[in-house]
Symmetry: C2
Subunit: 221 residues, 2 copies
C-alpha cells in the first residue's frame, strides 16, 4: 500500500509498510545498520589505500560478490521514505541522516529547549570521504549539512518544511574530524520560516547559514 501526496510538480511517494511494529523496525535496523557501517568503513579504506594492483583485484572481487548477494532482492531505484505501521517516518536512505546510506555521515539531530529557546543540534565526525581542501571539509559538504540541519529546525512533527533559499557564509576552513552543527528558527511570516545556524569545530564557528523554509503547497491545509 502506498500513501501518495501530491507535490507542486507531481507526486511524492511515501511507501507505507503494512504491519510493521516498532519491534519490526528495530529488527530491520539491527540487520541493516551494521552492514551500512561496514560499507562506510570500506569507503574510507578505498580512499586511503596504497596496496598494489594484486591486492586491489582481490578486494574488488570480494566487493562485487557482496554486491551480487545484496542485489538478489532489492527495491527499485531508491529507498524512499518508508513509514512504519505507527506512521513514523524511516528516512533510512537519506543522504545526510540515512542509517542505511553509507555516504551519510550520518547525522543524528537532537531537538532541545534552553534559555534561548528551541534549537536543533548535531555532533558528528567527517573523515576522508568529506574532503575538499587537503585535510579540510569540502565547502559543499558544509552547505549540504547546514541545509539539512536548518530544515530540521524549520520543521515540526507532522509538518516538514523544504528549503526555499539558503545562504552559506564561510568564516574559515573546517578541519576534518569532529564537527558540531546547530540551528534555530529566528522568526516566521505566513508560510515562510526563517532559520539561522552554523557549523563549529573545537575552536568556534567555521561556517554560518541562514535560510527561508516553506511548507510545500501540497501540504498546506
Amino acid at each position: 500500500m502506498s500513501a501518495r501526496t501530491c507535490s507542486s510538480r507531481g507526486v511524492l511517494d511515501y511507501t507505507h509498510v503494512e504491519n510493521l511494529s516498532a519491534a519490526d523496525v528495530e529488527r530491520l535496523r539491527a540487520v541493516y545498520e551494521p552492514l551500512t557501517r561496514s560499507v562506510r568503513d570500506l569507503v574510507d579504506a578505498t580512499i586511503r589505500t596504497e596496496v598494489d594492483a594484486g591486492v586491489v583485484a582481490a578486494a574488488t572481487a570480494e566487493i562485487e560478490s557482496a554486491t551480487a548477494r545484496l542485489r538478489e532482492k532489492q527495491r527499485a531505484l531508491s529507498f524512499g521514505i518508508q513509514l512504519g505501521a505507527d506512521g513514523d517516518a524511516m528516512p533510512w536512505g537519506n543522504a545526510v541522516i540515512g542509517v542505511r546510506n553509507p555516504t551519510a555521515p550520518p547525522l543524528v539531530v537532537r531537538r532541545m529547549t534552553d534559555d534561548s529557546g528551541e534549537r536543533v543540534t548535531s555532533d558528528f565526525y567527517l573523515g576522508a570521504a568529506f574532503e575538499g581542501p587537503p585535510g579540510h571539509v569540502h565547502g559543499g559538504v558544509s552547505a549540504m549539512i547546514l541545509d539539512h540541519v536548518l530544515g530540521d529546525a524549520a520543521s515540526t512533527p507532522g509538518k516538514h518544511r523544504l528549503t526555499g533559499t539558503i545562504t552559506v557564509s564561510y568564516r574559515r576552513l573546517t578541519p576534518l574530524g569532529r564537527v558540531h552543527a546547530e540551528a534555530r528558527v529566528s522568526h516566521s511570516e505566513g508560510v515562510k520560516t526563517y532559520v539561522v545556524g552554523h557549523l563549529a569545530d573545537g575552536r568556534g564557528v567555521t561556517v554560518e547559514a541562514e535560510g527561508v523554509f516553506i511548507e510545500p503547497r501540497w501540504a498546506r491545509g
Copy 2:
C-alpha cells in the same frame, strides 16, 4: 617531499609525489578507479537491498575482508591533494569530483567558451545515495554540487578560489537521475569573483545559485 602553503589559519598540505610521470598517474588511476566504481555500486546495493539477515551477514563478511586487505597499507587520515611530477593536481579524494572517493557522483567538469562567454558545465547521474524527498535529490546535495561547480567557474589554472558566500534558491524538486550543472563568472571586483549557476533536469532549471569566491590570503601575490 611536501609542498606546504600557509593558509589564513595554518597550513594546507599538498603532498608532492616525486618521480610520478603522466604515465604513472594513468597507471594508478587504472588500478584504483575500478575499485572505487565497485564500491559505488555496493553503496547503491546497500541502500536498496531487501535480502534477509543471513545474506546480509555473508555480504558483510566479504566487505570486512575487502576492507582489511585495503588497510594493509594506507595513508594517514585522508587523501589530500597529491601532485604529480608535472605539478598537475590529483584531487582524487574530493567529495564531489574524486575518482577515488566512492561517495562522489563523481562530477567531471568541463570548461568551454561560446557566444555568451566562458562557462563550466557537468552532466552526471544521481542515484539512491543522493536522496532526500522520496525519489528526489536532497536539497543539501544540490547545494554541495553547486558550491563545487561555481568554485570551478571562479578559478583559473594555478589560481584556486574558495567560496566566501553562496546563496542557493530552490525552484522545484530535482528528480533523481540525470542532472546538468553549469556556472559562469558574472563579474569581478578586486579579490572577489562573482559567479552564477544552476542545476537542471530534462525539463529545465530546478535550483539556482550565486556566490562570491575569494582568493585565499596566503595565495595572493
